[in-house]
C-alpha cells in the first residue's frame, strides 16, 4: 500500500488529515468562504454581540463583526505561525541534532548542553519571556516560538542519530568507505525521518496551542487581527452572556490541534518500522 492509502486506512489519521486539509482549505479560501470577508477590519457597531443565527453562524463580536468570517481568516494566521515557527525550529534543530549525534564527543555534548539550557524552562515560559521583551506581534510570536522550540528537534534528532549510529547498517556503510555526509544524509536522515515527521505533526499542534496562549496573554497579534487566542481573551469580558464569542475560536483551536495530533499518532503507527515489521 502506498503511504497515502495506508494513512487513509487508519481512521484516526484520516480524520486528522481531513481536519488539517480543511484548515488549509479554509485558510486559502477564506475570502471566498467567509460570508463577510470584510469583517476582518470592518465593524458594525449596531450589531455587537449578536448570538449565532443564520446570518452570523457563530454570532458577532464586540465590534459587530461576523465571528465566523473572522475565524476563517484566523486560520491563516494560525497556519502561518505554526508552519513558520515549526519550519524554522526543524531547520535549526535537525542539522544540529544530526551533527551532534553523529560526531558525539565534546562538540556534541556542548550542543546538547546548549539545548539543555533551553529545555530547562518549560517552552511556553521562555516564549513568554521572549515575546514579552520583543513586544506583541505575530512576527515576535513566531520568533519566540522558533527560538524556544528548536531544542526539541535537536534533542530528538540527536537521540535518534545516536541510536542509528549503533545500527549495523550504518557501520556497514561506513565500512564500505561512505563519507560522513553520505551516511548522515542518505542513511541516517531517511531512517529517522519518520520520527521527525511525527514530532513535527504533534509539534504543530503544540505550537498552535502555545501561540494561542501567547495571544490570550496579549503577547500575540495586535487588534483587530482575528487571531484565535486573542479572540478568546477579548471574549472574556463578555462571558457568560456572549458564550459563543469564546466558544467558536476555542473550538477551532481544538479541532485543528486535534487534527495534528491524530495525524501524528496515525503517522507514528504507519511510519514506525517496529510496528510495521510486526504487522508483516
Amino acid at each position: 500500500m502506498t503511504g497515502l492509502k495506508r494513512l487513509l486506512a487508519d481512521r484516526a489519521a484520516a480524520i486528522g488529515a481531513g481536519l488539517i486539509a480543511a484548515l488549509v482549505l479554509v485558510a486559502i479560501l477564506a475570502p471566498v468562504l467567509a460570508p463577510f470577508p470584510g469583517d476582518v477590519s470592518e465593524f458594525h457597531l449596531t450589531e455587537r454581540l449578536l448570538p449565532p443565527d443564520a446570518t452570523h453562524l457563530f454570532g458577532t463580536d464586540r465590534m459587530g463583526s461576523d465571528l465566523f468570517s473572522r475565524i476563517l481568516f484566523g486560520a491563516r494566521i494560525t497556519i502561518a505561525i505554526a508552519v513558520i515557527a515549526v519550519g524554522v525550529s526543524v531547520a535549526i534543530g535537525v542539522p544540529i541534532g544530526l551533527v551532534a549525534g553523529y560526531y558525539g564527543g565534546w562538540s556534541g555534548g556542548l550542543l546538547m548542553r546548549a539545548s539543555d539550557i533551553f529545555l530547562a524552562v518549560p517552552q511556553i515560559v521562555l516564549a513568554i519571556a521572549i515575546a514579552q521583551t520583543l513586544g506583541p506581534s505575530v512576527e515576535n510570536v513566531i520568533l519566540a516560538l522558533s527560538a524556544t522550540y528548536w531544542p526539541f528537534w535537536a534533542r530528538l534528532v540527536y537521540a535518534e542519530t545516536r541510536a542509528m549510529k549503533g545500527q549495523v547498517f550504518i557501520e556497514a556503510a561506513q565500512a564500505l568507505g561512505a563519507s560522513d555526509f553520505r551516511v548522515m544524509v542518505l542513511h541516517i536522515l531517511p531512517n529517522i525521518a519518520s520520527a521527525i515527521i511525527v514530532r513535527t505533526s504533534i509539534g504543530m499542534g503544540a505550537t498552535i496551542l502555545t501561540a494561542a496562549a501567547l495571544g490570550f496573554l496579549g503577547l500575540g497579534a495586535p487588534p483587530p487581527t482575528p487571531e484565535w487566542g486573542r479572540t478568546i481573551s477579548e471574549a472574556r469580558e463578555f462571558l457568560p452572556e456572549a458564550w459563543w464569542y469564546a466558544a467558536a475560536p476555542g473550538f477551532a483551536i481544538f479541532l485543528v490541534v486535534m487534527g495534528f495530533n491524530l495525524l501524528g499518532d496515525g503517522l507514528r503507527d504507519i511510519l514506525d518500522p517496529k510496528i510495521r515489521r510486526g504487522a508483516k
Binding site: V168, E171, A173, Q174, A175, G177, A178, H187, N191
Partner: protein, 333 residues
C-alpha cells in the same frame, strides 16, 4: 612459501568501562594479544564462545574498530588503525560480511540501491555499467533480478545473506571476513549457503576468515582453525589436527560438547563446568583456570603464551599433555 596476504601481530582492542562522570573504571579486553597469519586462498576458521571477541577481531582488521595496540599487515602494507576511508583502495579488497546481514542493509533502501552503493563510493562507473555489474553479481549469488526492487525485510534470512555477500563482492575483494555466516539459518538453508561460499571462492579467488561458533560447520569448511577464549587465541592449527588431537583443554571441551548423532550422548558425560568470567574482570594467570579440570598453581599465576610447533600452537602450560577427563557416566533410571 608464499607470503601471507594478511597478518596480525599482537593485536589489542580494549573497550573502556566508564562509571559516573565518564571516568574509566576498567576495560573489557575484547582482544588481548592476537597474532596469526592468513595465506592466500585459505579458509581460516575462528571459533569460540559468545563474547570472546570474534567479531571484534574481524572489525578491527577491517578498521571499523580501531585497535588499542598491535599491527595488521594486508598485502604487505600496514593498515592497523587506518579508517575505512583512509585506506579506501585497500579496503575494497578486504571486506567484512556482517553477522546479521539483514541488519547491515539500510531498511529504507531497495536491495538494488544498496548493492550499487559500493560502486558509487569506490568507482566512477556510469549508471548503466553499475546496473550491469549489479545484475552479474546478483546472478552469481543465485538471486533473481526481481529482488533488486525489494526491501530487505521482504526477503528471507538466507536471501539476505546472499545480498550481503553480493554487496561485498561488488568491489572484487581478495579477503572476506565472514562473521557467523550461518547462525540462525536452518540446516537445509545452511547447506546451500555454505556451498555458495565454496563456489564463490572458486569463482572470485577469495580468501576467507570464517567466524563461527558451530564447530561442525568450521570443520567442514576450513583449512585451519583458531580457537578463541576471552580475547585470546588459545589454540590454532590445521583443522584435521585440531579435531583429531586438541591440545588445549578448552578446545577439548568445545569438541566434547558437539552432539554426535548416533554416537554416545555427550550431555550425560560433559565435564566442563561454569561459564566464562566477566570480560572486564579477568583473573591473573591463565584465563581458563576457573573452568579447567587440570588447573594447577602455575595456571593461577602465569598466563600461558601461545606456543607450538609446525602449523599448530596452543596457549596452555600443559598443551598436549592433558586429555579430557574420563567421562563420568551418570546413572539414569
Amino acid at each position: 612459501m608464499t607470503e601471507p596476504i594478511l597478518s596480525v601481530r599482537d593485536l589489542h582492542c580494549h573497550f573502556p568501562v566508564r562509571g559516573a562522570f565518564g571516568r574509566q573504571v576498567g576495560a573489557i579486553r575484547a582482544l588481548d594479544g592476537i597474532s596469526f597469519e592468513l595465506m592466500p586462498g585459505e579458509i581460516l576458521g575462528l571459533v569460540g564462545e559468545s563474547g570472546c571477541g570474534k567479531s571484534t577481531l574481524g572489525k578491527t582488521i577491517m578498521g571499523i574498530q580501531s585497535p588499542t595496540g598491535g599491527g595488521i599487515t594486508f598485502e604487505g602494507a600496514e593498515i592497523a588503525g587506518a579508517s575505512p576511508r583512509a585506506a579506501k583502495d585497500r579496503r575494497a579488497r578486504l571486506q567484512y560480511a556482517y553477522q546479521d546481514p539483514g541488519a547491515s542493509l539500510d531498511p529504507r533502501w531497495r536491495i538494488g540501491r544498496s548493492l550499487e552503493e559500493p560502486l558509487i563510493i569506490h568507482t566512477g562507473l556510469g549508471a548503466a555499467e553499475r546496473g550491469r555489474k549489479v545484475r552479474d553479481i546478483l546472478a552469481a549469488v543465485g538471486l533473481p533480478e526481481s529482488h533488486l526492487e525489494r526491501y530487505p525485510h521482504e526477503i528471507s534470512g538466507g536471501q539476505q545473506r546472499r545480498v550481503g555477500l553480493a554487496r561485498i563482492l561488488m568491489l572484487n575483494p581478495k579477503v572476506v571476513i565472514l562473521d557467523e555466516p550461518t547462525s540462525g539459518l536452518d540446516v537445509s538453508v545452511q547447506a546451500t549457503v555454505l556451498s555458495l561460499f565454496r563456489d564463490l571462492r572458486e569463482e572470485f579467488d577469495l580468501t576467507y576468515m570464517f567466524i563461527s561458533h558451530d564447530l561442525s560447520v568450521v570443520r567442514m569448511m576450513c583449512h585451519r582453525v583458531a580457537v578463541m577464549y576471552l580475547g585470546r587465541i588459545v589454540e590454532i592449527g590445521p583443522t584435521q589436527e585440531i579435531f583429531a588431537a586438541p591440545k588445549h583443554p578448552y578446545t577439548q571441551s568445545l569438541l566434547a560438547a558437539i552432539p554426535r548423532i548416533g554416537g554416545p550422548r555427550v550431555v550425560d558425560t560433559f565435564w566442563l563446568k561454569g561459564e566464562p568470567p566477566d570480560a572486564s574482570r579477568l583473573p591473573k594467570g591463565c584465563r581458563f583456570q576457573g573452568r579447567c579440570p587440570h588447573a594447577t598453581a602455575i595456571c593461577l599465576s602465569d598466563d600461558p603464551a601461545l606456543r607450538g610447533a609446525g602449523g599448530s600452537a596452543a596457549a596452555c602450560h600443559f598443551a598436549g599433555e592433558v586429555s579430557p577427563p574420563a567421562p563420568i557416566r551418570r546413572a539414569l533410571p
